[in-house]
């Protein structure tokens, strides 16, 4: 197990290096200069040069990359071009917001989707199955920003139950903090319920057809025991993998939800920084997201034996 862990961790290093190089090169290959964006339409050439020197952008790209990598290796992600703040603390502060929303949303989605998929599989081709599958497909096909806006319109504008803009950390005021994040969590959870339900249904159908299920039933095991003890753990493994992928994917792609609900999360930081060509922040965010993706999937893989003892045996 330890050897597996070390191997897995070692494999992540080239992945992250590749991400770093790609990110560094890509952001500089797209046209647009942070100095221009900062100065707008009034650019005095002397001022441009001074600012460029100050930001270290007058160096060649390999030199810039070398500096950056050397610093990143010791945990220094540099400073934002636009506001001069250290990048890593900025990312960590914003990440808390995104992580909270994504983790809660995925947990809720899993709690709803896994039993729903199991029930649909168990009652395959019945009206229940049809209803669950249709619901899942519908949720899957709604764009997240649209669903977010609909919820915002209903609960924020029509019913006025929830505030529509802003964010309060939990440490400041629990009630208000909840009010601000209920809708984004609901939006993300509803979207992911679709994908997870379908996956859970598919894997449950497969397991329900296996002989040991028939065997359990033949032995006279009650149906809840057949489903809960024999089907669910075995059907859950593929869903678990999908949850890992969704977690990583959401952390990288939560920008839309954060924009709709004006949450100060990592996704919005990334998008704002791309428009401002704030290189250090864009690089930092992408590298950080890549690390999170790798770590989440590592954790998922390491948890696998808990659901499927066969993996541990291998």
């Amino acid at each position: 197990m330890l050897g597996y862990l070390v191997r897995r961790l070692a494999m992540t290093i080239p992945t992250l290096l590749l991400v770093a190089i790609t990110v560094f090169a890509l952001i500089r290959l797209i046209p647009g200069d942070p100095v221009q964006v900062m100065l707008g339409d009034s650019t005095d050439p002397a001022q441009v040069e001074q600012l460029r020197r100050q930001m270290g952008l007058d160096q060649s790209i390999p030199v810039q990359f070398g500096y950056w990598l050397a610093k990143v290796a010791v945990g220094d992600f540099g400073h934002s071009i636009t506001n001069g703040l250290a990048v890593l603390p900025l990312i960590l502060e914003r990440f808390q917001v995104s992580a909270l929303i994504v983790l809660v949303a995925v947990t809720i989605a899993a709690c709803v989707a896994v039993p729903a998929g199991l029930i649909a599989a168990w009652r395959q081709n019945s009206a229940t199955d049809l209803a669950i599958t249709a619901g899942a497909t519908l949720l899957l096909s709604i764009p997240s920003f649209w669903l977010g806006l609909l919820l915002l319109l209903l609960f924020g504008l029509k019913l006025k139950w929830l505030p529509v803009i802003g964010y309060v950390p939990f440490s400041d005021n629990f009630g208000q903090a909840m009010a601000f994040i209920v809708l984004p969590i609901a939006t993300l959870a509803m979207i992911e319920i679709g994908a997870l339900t379908r996956m859970s249904r598919a894997s449950s159908i497969e397991v329900l057809r296996l002989e040991y299920v028939t065997h359990a039933r033949a032995k006279g095991a009650p149906e809840w025991r057949v489903l809960g003890r024999h089907v669910l753990p075995n059907a859950f493994a593929p869903t678990w993998t999908l949850i890992g992928l969704i977690l990583g994917h959401l952390l990288g792609g939560i920008a839309v939800i954060e924009t709709v609900f004006t949450l100060p999360g990592l996704g919005r930081l990334l998008v704002d920084s791309i428009f401002a060509r704030d290189y250090p922040v864009v690089q930092g965010c992408l590298l950080f997201t890549a690390v999170i993706y790798v770590v989440v999937n590592l954790i998922v893989d390491l948890c696998y034996p808990l659901f499927d003892p066969r993996v541990a045996a291998e």
Partner: protein, 527 residues
């Protein structure tokens, strides 16, 4: 079968419990509105609290409430007194003597004196400060400041190398941080920037990056007595606090306004104004602004170097219709580089292009135009820029000009603009408050300043003259002549000056937009 129902019932119960819990949370939320707090919206965060250095338009907009300089812009873009009570200019135009107002307090309680003015100027003029406007006072700038001296606690003398019409205007420029007079406490003991300890009607409160900036009423503010006028005149603060919320997404901002979470949102787009008109709880503030939207034409381009083709494009357009359609009646057409609101925009500047399809076709035929496509860059960050591009494309087609629109993101377009790397581009310039500066942003040698669109040595000389002379009549004559040549050369087709569109909830009283596209939160109350 009963077992099946049991599982289904359990799931339903669990889901219902979840919904009930969410609703319970929702009803437990306290009302978020608070008396005396005006809640505004900016579309992006500020860059720093150090005005005139690490800045952008939003930084200027927020800091304009906190800091003040010797002089400030009035609503008609003329210069009025702010911390200076009055000033005299020596006959040779090189010595400015400012008499300061008495009893003006800094946010830390200290009384402002001439010594603070000298200290502030020394800091501005130190290259280490990286003041945006330092280059204006360098060898290549408008003039050099040779000295700033306090002759008594209420008097400051600024000595210039050569006379200029632009000194006061430059000192007042919001992007120069209004050349704010600051207290020494603005810096840490080792000379680093801490926060603005200034004289403005608001003190800087909490700045939660990416979320909000608070402006707190400064209770000891010593207001001028004249009525509110641009950035000068009385500044009476009627609320305890202004929270400037950072909300990039305009739909979210609109939802915030309609739900009552925001009181004022500015920088609205035209379609949003149309939509908000139908809401009874909201009123609109529509003010002409100084920004300039138009089509830049690259005179170095093999095709567009022919002035007849550029002129044909100008004659194919009905600029009034473009302005009406794009801005939905909130802005007037204008072909001049001088904005309509400028006191220098007179009858001469009203003379522009008149649509003449036959003449346009004739010019194209004379120029030997064979339907070569012209690529025009536009962006969707500013919807009116893109909409203008589409209308120009359609109208040009009627005379046989073929225009292809290429949509780029704003950062990329700015890059192409500053390199002069385009055939044509729909573009928007930000507000310039002095007419010389309006022409300065367009006129210059392309060889050394590729971003300049109008490379005409005679115009450059006239521009230089306009910056040197203080005589208003002489300046007007220079601007009139420059306008005539600008229209003849067609380096760019100015279409209209935009509008500043803001929406407020009905309980907001006293808000007024002005030519400069930034909100002012003094004189605004909540009822």
């Amino acid at each position: 079968m009963r077992k099946h129902q049991g599982v289904a019932a359990f799931t339903t119960m669990a889901m219902s419990a979840g919904v009930a819990l969410a609703l319970a949370w929702a009803s437990a939320i306290p009302a978020l509105a608070a008396g005396g707090v005006l809640r505004a919206r900016f579309n992006a965060d500020i860059r720093s609290t150090d005005p005139g250095t690490n800045r952008d338009a939003n930084t200027d907009g927020v800091m304009g409430h906190v800091v003040e300089g010797l002089v400030a812009f009035r609503e008609d873009t003329s210069i009025g007194p702010m911390l200076a009570e009055s000033w005299e200019i020596s006959p040779d135009g090189k010595i400015y003597t400012f008499h300061l107002r008495k009893g003006v307090k800094f946010h830390n309680g200290a009384i402002m004196t001439a010594d603070d003015v000298v200290w502030s100027f020394k800091r501005w003029l130190d290259p280490a400060t990286q003041w945006r406007c330092l280059s204006e006072f360098s060898d290549t700038g408008i003039t050099k400041i040779l000295g700033v001296d306090a002759t008594d606690p209420q008097t400051v003398v600024i000595t210039l190398e050569r006379p200029t019409a632009l000194l006061l205007g430059t000192l007042a420029r919001p992007d120069c941080g209004q050349t704010a007079i600051l207290n020494r406490d603005s810096l840490t003991p080792d000379g680093k920037w801490r926060e603005p300890v200034a004289t403005g009607p608001f003190k800087l409160g909490e700045w939660k990056r990416g979320q909000y900036v608070d402006l707190i009423r400064f209770d000891d503010y010593v207001s001028r007595t004249e009525p509110r006028d641009g950035y000068t005149g009385a500044k009476k603060v009627e609320v305890d606090k202004v929270r400037v919320n950072i909300i990039p997404d305009s739909s979210a901002a609109k939802a915030g306004l309609l739900s009552g979470s925001l009181d004022i949102i500015n920088s609205l787009s035209v379609p949003e104004v149309e939509e908000l008109k139908s809401h009874a709880e909201v009123k609109l503030s529509i003010t002409p602004a100084l920004g300039l939207t138009g089509i830049l034409l690259q005179s170095n381009d093999p095709l567009l170097k022919a002035v007849r083709i550029r002129r044909a494009l100008a004659l194919s357009l009905d600029t009034k219709e473009i302005a009406d359609v794009v801005m939905q009646g909130t802005a007037r057409a204008n072909n001049s580089a001088l904005p309509i609101g400028s006191p220098f925009h007179g009858p001469v500047e009203d003379q522009g292009y008149t649509q003449d399809i036959a003449q346009a076709r004739k010019l194209l035929a004379e120029a030997g135009y064979k339907g070569q496509p012209i690529k025009m860059i536009a962006n969707k960050r500013y919807s009116f820029v893109f909409d203008s591009a589409v209308l120009v494309q359609a109208m040009a087609q009627a005379v046989g000009l073929k225009i292809d629109i290429e949509v780029l993101d704003w950062a990329t377009q700015l890059d192409r603009y500053s390199k002069g790397d385009y055939q044509a581009m729909a573009f928007v310039y930000s507000a310039r408050l002095d007419p010389s500066l309006s022409f300065e942003m367009l006129t210059g040698p392309k060889a050394t300043q590729p971003r300049k669109v109008w490379d005409n040595p005679e115009a450059q000389e006239m521009l230089r003259q306009s910056m040197l002379t203080i005589d208003t009549a002489k300046r007007q004559a220079l601007f009139d002549e420059m306008h005539r040549r600008f229209i003849a050369d067609v380096p760019m087709i100015v279409l209209f000056n935009g509008s500043e569109l803001a929406a407020l909830r009905n309980n907001v009283k006293g808000y007024a937009g002005w030519l400069y596209p930034q909100p002012r939160f003094w004189g605004v109350s909540l009822q």
